[in-house]
C-alpha cells in the first residue's frame, strides 16, 4: 500500500498532478476535465476519455472480437478488473493484439486529457479500471507523447477546435481524388458530429482520425461548425457525461448492453 499525500492538489495542471503522484508511486484514478488516468505504483495503466472510443468500440465493430465475446468478458471479468485477461485467456484475442489496441486507446485518450491541461479534479486512491492490467507506461512518457502529438497535429493545421467541435463540410469545396481513408472520414462530417463521434462511427483510432480531419481542414474541406442557434441538449454518447466515479463507465456500458438485448 503506497501512502498518497495530497501534494497533487497544489498542482495547477493534470500533467503536473500526475508527475507528483508518479513520484509517490501512487495507485488510483485521477480525474481531469476530459477523462481519467489510472495509475498503478506510479505508472499509467489506463486512460479513459469521453472523446475517444473505448476498447470495445475499437474491437467489436471490426470483428476482432465478436460483441457477445466482448460482453461475456466484461460480464465475467468486470468486477474483478480482469476484462483484458479474460479476452486473452478465453482465446478471443491475442495477447499482442490486446496490448497494441490498449496502448493505442491509452495514448489517444491521454492526448485529449493532457493537451487541454487543466487542473485535475480529484484522485481516488486504490481505484482501478475494469479492463485490468495490460501494460503500464511511465507518466513522463505519456506527457511527452501528448506534447509531440499536439505539435504534429498543429503542423498539419493549427486549429485545436477540429479535435473537439462539431465539424462541417466547407460548401462548394472540391473533394476529388482523396485517399480512401480521408474520403471515408469526410463522408462522416455532417455538421453535427465531432472527431470522437466520427472515429467511433468508423471504428477508427481517434488520433488517426484527428490527423485525417486536420488534413481535410488544411485542404479547406472541413471546418468547425458554427454554434447552433438554439440551445440544444447534446445527446452525445453515453460516455459524454460526468467523470465522477471510475466505475460509472462500466455501469453505463452494462446498462447499454442490457438495453440492447
Amino acid at each position: 500500500m503506497t501512502r498518497v499525500t495530497t501534494t497533487w492538489t497544489t498542482q495547477g495542471t493534470t500533467s503536473a498532478a500526475l508527475g507528483t503522484l508518479a513520484a509517490e508511486g501512487a495507485s488510483g484514478a485521477l480525474s481531469g476535465e476530459r477523462g481519467i488516468v489510472y495509475l498503478s505504483a506510479g505508472r499509467v495503466v489506463h486512460v479513459e476519455s469521453a472523446f475517444t472510443p473505448d476498447l470495445g468500440a475499437l474491437l467489436t465493430p471490426s470483428g476482432a472480437v465478436p460483441p457477445d465475446g466482448w460482453w461475456d468478458a466484461v460480464d465475467r471479468g468486470g468486477t474483478q478488473h480482469r476484462v483484458g485477461h479474460r479476452l486473452v485467456d478465453s482465446g478471443r484475442l491475442a495477447a499482442g493484439a490486446l496490448e497494441v489496441c490498449h496502448l493505442g486507446a491509452l495514448f489517444d485518450a491521454a492526448y485529449f486529457l493532457l493537451a487541454h491541461d487543466t487542473r485535475a479534479h480529484r484522485f481516488r486512491p486504490g481505484a482501478s479500471h475494469w479492463l485490468g492490467a495490460v501494460r503500464s507506461v511511465p507518466v513522463d512518457a505519456v506527457v511527452r507523447e501528448t506534447g509531440r502529438r499536439r505539435a504534429l497535429l498543429d503542423r498539419i493545421w493549427p486549429d485545436p477546435a477540429i479535435d473537439t467541435a462539431p465539424l462541417t463540410r466547407v460548401p462548394d469545396a472540391r473533394a476529388a481524388g482523396l485517399p480512401v481513408r480521408r474520403g471515408r472520414t469526410l463522408t462522416q462530417v455532417d455538421g453535427v458530429r465531432t472527431a470522437a463521434e466520427i472515429a467511433s462511427a468508423l471504428a477508427c483510432r481517434t488520433y488517426r482520425t484527428l490527423v485525417e480531419l486536420r488534413r481535410l481542414a488544411a485542404a479547406g474541406l472541413v471546418a468547425p461548425a458554427p454554434p447552433a442557434p438554439a440551445p440544444s441538449v447534446p445527446t452525445a454518447d453515453p460516455a459524454g457525461g460526468v467523470w465522477d466515479d471510475p466505475d460509472t463507465a462500466l455501469l453505463r456500458r452494462l446498462r447499454d448492453a442490457l438495453e440492447a438485448l
Binding site: 475499437l58 474491437l59 471490426s62 470483428g63 476482432a64 486473452v88 482465446g91 484475442l93 491475442a94 495477447a95 499482442g96 493484439a97 490486446l98 496490448e99 497494441v100 489496441c101 496502448l103 493505442g104 495514448f107 501494460r135 511527452r144 507523447e145 509531440r148 502529438r149 504534429l152 485517399p179 468508423l202 471504428a203 477508427c204 483510432r205 488520433y207 488517426r208 490527423v211
Partner: protein, 131 residues
C-alpha cells in the same frame, strides 16, 4: 501467446540482431523496444522511421499495380534499408482492428541473414496479433 515484449525478445534471437522495436507509424511512438537503438535513442528512432513508414503506407505508389488485390492495409508488407554495416527491416503489422504499427529489426550486416529475418519477422508479426 506472445505479447509485445515477448515478440521483440523473439526477434532479438535472430542471428545478428542488434535491436528491435514496435512503432506506431501514425504518431511515431515506440510501443516497445529491446536491445540497442540505432541512434542511441528509441524515441528518436521511432519518430524518424515512422515518417518513412507513414509515407509508404499512405501513398499508393508502392502498393499499387499488383495482380493480387488484397484487403491488407497497408498494401506494402516490408521495407528494407541497408547501410555499410547493417540492415534495417520494417514489417507492417496487419491487425484485425484499426491500428498503425510496424516491427523494426536492426541487424548486423556480417552476422545477419536478411532473407531469414524477413520470413521470421513476418511470422512474428502475425503471431503478435493473431496468436
Amino acid at each position: 501467446m506472445p505479447g509485445i515484449d515477448e515478440s521483440l525478445v523473439d526477434a532479438m534471437r535472430l542471428p545478428g540482431a542488434r535491436g528491435a522495436s514496435l512503432v506506431d507509424w501514425i504518431s511515431g511512438l515506440a510501443l516497445g523496444a529491446v536491445g540497442d537503438a540505432p541512434a542511441g535513442d528509441w524515441e528518436a528512432t521511432a519518430a524518424e522511421t515512422a515518417e518513412l513508414a507513414r509515407h509508404v503506407a499512405e501513398n499508393g505508389s508502392l502498393g499499387a499495380g499488383g495482380t493480387a488485390p488484397s484487403d491488407r492495409e497497408p498494401a506494402v508488407e516490408d521495407l528494407i534499408a541497408t547501410t555499410a554495416d547493417a540492415y534495417h527491416l520494417f514489417r507492417f503489422v496487419s491487425t484485425p482492428f484499426d491500428s498503425t504499427v510496424f516491427l523494426h529489426l536492426w541487424l548486423d550486416r556480417n552476422d545477419g541473414n536478411l532473407a531469414l529475418a524477413r520470413i521470421r519477422l513476418a511470422e512474428m508479426a502475425d503471431r503478435l496479433v493473431l496468436g
